[in-house]
Amino acid sequence: MADPLGPLVPRPLRGLLGPLATSASGMARQQEFMSVIAENIANANTMRTAEGGPYRRQLAVARRDDATGQVTIDRVADAGEGRLVYDPGHPDADAQGYVRHPNVDMATEMVDLVMARRLHEANATAFQAAKAMLRRALEI
């Protein structure tokens, strides 16, 4: 299993702090996921972006380096196309009168948000449990 503490933590502390670091890493990951989901929801109606065209849904993907145990989170744009709506009066309408909307589906985002929140809570509970166990072990 990868070491989530990094090379700077002394060896005797690794066993004790390992579960805490693992849960903290899980919480940080879910927070980043929730931030990306919130950004998607906030831009669900953004029709123009600096890159041109409507907003493209973002996804956060965690990658773990097995050698160091470090987790990095990359952002990638969802390649799917948004829905086409016939609206000839819209300033962004094409020659046929269709407007391409952002590819953000609110229902999907809400489901993802609930899942991210659940996992964040689960990691927070695991962190509290590890803390309680560590404290109990120190009382022996």
Binding site: G18, E32, F33, I37, L59, A62, V111, A122, M133
Partner: protein, 97 residues
């Protein structure tokens, strides 16, 4: 004499082993929860990202892991109390013996 008090097979030795085992179990559960999802979405696009799809934790698995976590914590607490009692008994024995 010392072996009879602290050696292999004695209560403190067994309880210490139990604590180490429960600690390892907790670490494994914490790792499973931390790796619960590798992408911010479980949609088909995220599935296409490969590794994200393979490790996503389901609702049922989440509940199972949380139940295991509570179970491990209670067992750890009970084992720690028993070990504390065993060490207290040993201290009394050494003081009065």
């Amino acid at each position: 004499m010392i072996k009879a008090l602290f050696g292999t097979g004695t209560a403190p030795w067994r309880l210490r082993g139990g604590l180490a085992e429960l600690s390892a179990t907790h670490t494994a559960i914490a790792t499973r929860l931390a790796d619960g999802s590798r992408a911010s979405s479980a949609s088909s696009f995220a599935d296409a990202l490969g590794e994200a799809a393979g490790t996503a934790i389901g609702e049922q698995e989440l509940l199972t892991n949380m139940a295991s976590l509570a179970d491990t914590q209670l067992r750890f607490e009970a084992t720690a109390r028993l070990l504390q009692r065993a060490y207290a008994d040993l201290r009394v024995t050494m003081r009065n013996g």
